[in-house]
Amino acid sequence: MNQPNSDTDVRQCTPVSRPTGTTFTRGLGIAALVGIGWLVVFGMFISPNDRVQKKGVRIMYIHVPSAWLAYLAFIVTGIASAAYLFKRTRSLTWDRIAGASAEVGVLFMGITLVSGSLWGRISWGTYWTWDARLTTTAFLFVTYIGYLAVRDLGGTHQQRATRSAIMALLAVLEVPLVHFSVKWWRPLHQQETVAEGKLNGLMLFSLFVGIIAFTLLYVWLVLHRQRVLAMQDLVDDRGLDVALAERRAEGAQV
């Protein structure tokens, strides 16, 4: 970051404004678009209907990749939080990655829950069931919302980073507890077996395409969002320089 030469320079600083795209992300974005296009083609048209669920099975092509992405985002947030807390790897970039990943994760966790709920309604007549996976996903969704609220609590960038990282790690450690408590609570779950059986080759392939496409999308989103967060932090710091200049001027007049 360029340090201003004097207090008057700061007031003439242009606001931070630069695109967050690089050649890499552009390539990535195109690949993601292509992947999603492929997914649409395969998922909506080429892959066959399920014998039992007919067209309803196509929700799977959104639901499963979303779920994969949501869990990936969650794991990345956990790893990034741990990386921030370790002194040797401490860097605000990890904190921003954790935050960006959480934002993307919340979105896709919401999509997972909604699409799963609709799929359940179409296929088995119920919007919801209390099995371990669904309930843990719902738990993670709410926990994420809490995490994002904690990120907004204010303070220095470092305080935000430490606080959020602790929250994220506690959430990670708690997931097995939640998962097992729900699993023991409702041990029988028929729908699980139905969902996993009877996928033919083409359907599996489409699913595979979907997962790849969504992963590319995830990386693209997180990279951009992380850069925007970095710029926001930069703006805060610049804002500080302006405020400092004004405060010093006020002092000089006395």
Binding site: L240, L244, R247, G251, A252
Partner: protein
Amino acid sequence: MDPVVHLEGVVAVMGGFPVLAGADLTVEQGEIVLLRGPNGAGKTSLLRLCAGLLPVERGAARVLGCDLAADRTSVRNRVGLLGHANGLYADLTVRDNVTFWGATVGASGDEIAASLARMGLDGRLATVRVGRLSAGQRRRTALACLVARRAELWLLDEPHAGLDAAGRDELDATLREAASAGATVMVASHELERAGALATRVVDVVGGRVRPREEAS
């Protein structure tokens, strides 16, 4: 001798606002320094920073040999801060409060009794709940807690406010005693005459910065 407090170009931020905009200050052991300045100048923030409560955003800050920019928790336990709030538990009695705060440094029963006596709080007042006391009495209780904690650096924010004349005399005597016993004292105050008589040095705080002025008597 290393100075007790050494601040160089210290910037501190609260809610995005630079409460300290480049403060420079050096305080030697045994000094009683008066911080004076208008409201909003940064006196409170300066004291809180020295107590390790406010993070150092920029600049160098060494207090009692501890680098506050690196780890501001390191100076705690050796510093006593009397801020705008009293740090008391309203439901407990005066004696309970002083005993608790003294116990955090392992003070003995005698030391605690002495602290109470020092601030004129032994006797009937000791058994009154803090919530029922007047503002001035609460201030004296907070001071007694400070005395019980035997800090090396005393940071006091408007300590005279709310005290009656007798209380203020007590306070001044306590501070002089502490300084002659080896502690260092920094007082932010609007009571310019009284604090000026007490202080060994007067320092102006304006616009988040410090302007050292003349030596007071």
